[in-house]
């Protein structure tokens, strides 16, 4: 929780999800490219940009590695069987969730797709492990 006066930043992931069976119509791809590039400039100008990545290929390009006993099982396909898959992401700096949501609105408008906003963990790793343990408060 923040009261907005403190200027320390949290990193958030803005994750882009898409349904690969429903591509953006070709006549709108120009618009998306222009919008996404403009957003990149805006993030950079605001000092909010950390990193971005676009995934190459759809869920078909995904491979899952699982440890099973002492062995590893490698399977073809994405981890979750859903309609919409992770397609790319930004890592940004923002003062709080509201600030991150403002960037996400711009991203959703540029991409013409929904954006999931997730905070990155910014404390020590022990806390992260404890927080994710079953029954943790």
């Amino acid at each position: 929780m923040t009261n907005g006066s403190v200027i320390d930043m949290t990193q958030y992931m803005l994750a882009l999800y898409r349904d690969y069976a429903a591509p953006i119509p070709p006549e709108r791809t120009e618009q998306v490219w222009a919008g996404v590039n403009a957003l990149g400039d805006k993030l950079a100008d605001a000092g909010a940009f950390v990193f971005k990545g676009g995934l190459n290929g759809g869920p078909d390009s995904a491979t899952v590695v699982r440890q099973s006993g002492g062995d590893f099982v490698i399977t073809d396909g994405p981890y979750a069987e859903t309609k919409e898959h992770l397609a790319g992401f930004w890592i940004i700096n923002a003062a709080d969730l509201d600030a991150a949501l403002e960037w996400a609105k711009l991203a959703a408008a540029a991409e013409l797709r929904p954006i999931e906003v997730r905070p990155l963990f910014d404390g020590d790793l022990d806390d992260a492990i404890r927080a994710s343990a079953p029954g943790a408060q």
């Binding site: 929780m1 709080d96 969730l97």
Partner: protein, 408 residues
């Protein structure tokens, strides 16, 4: 005033202020509960302080600082040391009288945090009742017919999301306010409706209506320039004014048309009407204000026949223009039947069939009542039967059964 009464009145305000000091909801709740424990031990013998709320805030803050100091010595946690310095600095810098520590905005911040759109609505409702209303988790669970463990989990999850995502603790800026106020109003209205819908087996239930009105009053006081916050309060007051007339001695539901209007609470009505008048003068209508105005018209009518249905129909037209939902259209059709007769009303109702409203028991119940007035008894009976199959509420079921029984 008993400690319990102080608790009910001051809990939300104290927690809101402590959250600002400590930056953490759980720590704030713990500190305020500690302070009330001290109050229970001391007040009976030492007497109640002149400003009990400010005393609780000061005591809670001192306890929290002590606790953080102990914990930071014990495990040298940087985060807590940092928090401690922050809280300490604030305490010594200001050194202000206790009263001034309760910034009026704190509860407003807390309302907007509890009803942030990043939280789902059940979580918004639970957090609002817990943090602003000071209700215990088991009470909230019982009120919403949810297992206690489920409700506890819901609250824990919501608090964790607030912490992990750094959900801000502030009143939204002017530009965001219309959008951000919406979920706040919805949450309070939903709490009220939850209490209003329960009648028969409501003995074990918390008085959710009274709680919703208390919170709506806080919101209306904190946001005097938001006409919809005023409108919501007026609407709840006017609806609540009828509660004694709404339920018969046997627990069955009494419709507006059959209510004994002598039982309506004149004080609540007068308060609601005064707010509606002020809203009309302000001239910035919204859905809650219009619904309040509709109920204000009902509240001055001596009977259902002598109600100004023309005024009500006009208000429903305005409401439909702002929120064109099938439910508003259905209510408008019912008003139309009073102005132009049951046949006109029925054809307006029938036009709504394709809107998805035919899954809604009130659609069929309204049709049934109009068919009955037109003497189309067989069709009315079938419509009552359909309505009966679409509601799980025993009070509504009993009402529909009674209507069917008197058809012939």
């Amino acid at each position: 005033m008993t400690v319990e009464a102080v608790f009910r009145r001051e809990y939300g305000r104290c927690v809101a202020t402590l959250i600002r000091f400590l930056g953490d909801i759980d720590a704030a709740e713990e500190a305020v509960q500690d302070a009330f424990t001290v109050a229970i031990a001391r007040w009976p013998s030492e007497g109640q302080p002149p400003n009990p709320g400010a005393w609780i805030v000061t005591t809670a803050r001192n306890r929290a600082i002590d606790r953080l100091r102990r914990e930071s010595i014990r495990d040298e946690r940087h985060a807590q040391a940092h928090l401690l310095y922050g809280a300490d600095a604030q305490a010594t810098d200001h050194n202000a009288p206790a009263q001034e520590e309760t910034v009026p905005d704190d509860r407003l911040r807390l309302i907007f945090t509890c009803c942030h759109p990043a939280l789902n609505q059940p979580a918004q409702v639970a957090l609002t009742l817990r943090l602003l209303g000071g209700l215990e988790t088991p009470e909230i669970a019982r009120a919403f017919f949810v297992p206690e463990a489920t409700m506890a989990q819901r609250i824990v999850r919501a608090k964790r999301k607030i912490r992990d995502t750094r959900l801000p603790y502030r009143v939204p800026a002017e530009a965001e306010l219309p959008a951000r106020l919406q979920p706040v109003l919805s949450v309070l209205y939903l709490i009220f409706n939850e209490g209003y819908a329960a009648t028969a087996d409501s003995l074990m239930r918390l008085d959710l209506c009274a709680e919703a009105i208390r919170l709506a009053r806080v919101l209306a006081e904190l946001m005097p320039d938001e006409p919809e916050a005023q409108g919501l309060l007026a609407l709840l007051l006017l609806l609540h004014a009828r509660s004694a007339a709404r339920v018969a001695d046997d627990g069955s539901l009494v419709r507006l048309a059959e209510q004994d209007r002598q039982l309506w609470d004149r004080n609540l009505i007068a308060e609601g009407q005064a707010i509606v008048r002020a809203c009309v003068q302000r001239g910035r209508p919204g859905p809650y204000q219009i619904q309040a105005a509709i109920n204000a018209v009902h509240s001055v009518a001596p009977s259902i026949e002598k109600t100004d249905w023309h005024a009500i129909l006009t208000l429903y037209d305005q409401l439909y223009a702002l929120t064109p939902t099938p439910v508003v259209a259905l209510n408008r059709a019912v008003a139309l039947a009073e102005v132009r007769g049951p046949a006109a009303g029925l054809s307006a109702v029938d036009e709504l069939r394709s809107s998805g409203l035919d899954k809604y028991y009130l659609f069929h119940a309204s049709r049934a009542a109009l068919l009955r007035r037109l003497g189309r008894t067989t069709e009315a009976d079938a419509a009552y039967a359909t309505a009966r199959s679409l509601t799980a509420n025993p009070v509504e079921q009993a009402f529909l059964d009674a209507q069917r029984a008197t058809l012939n």
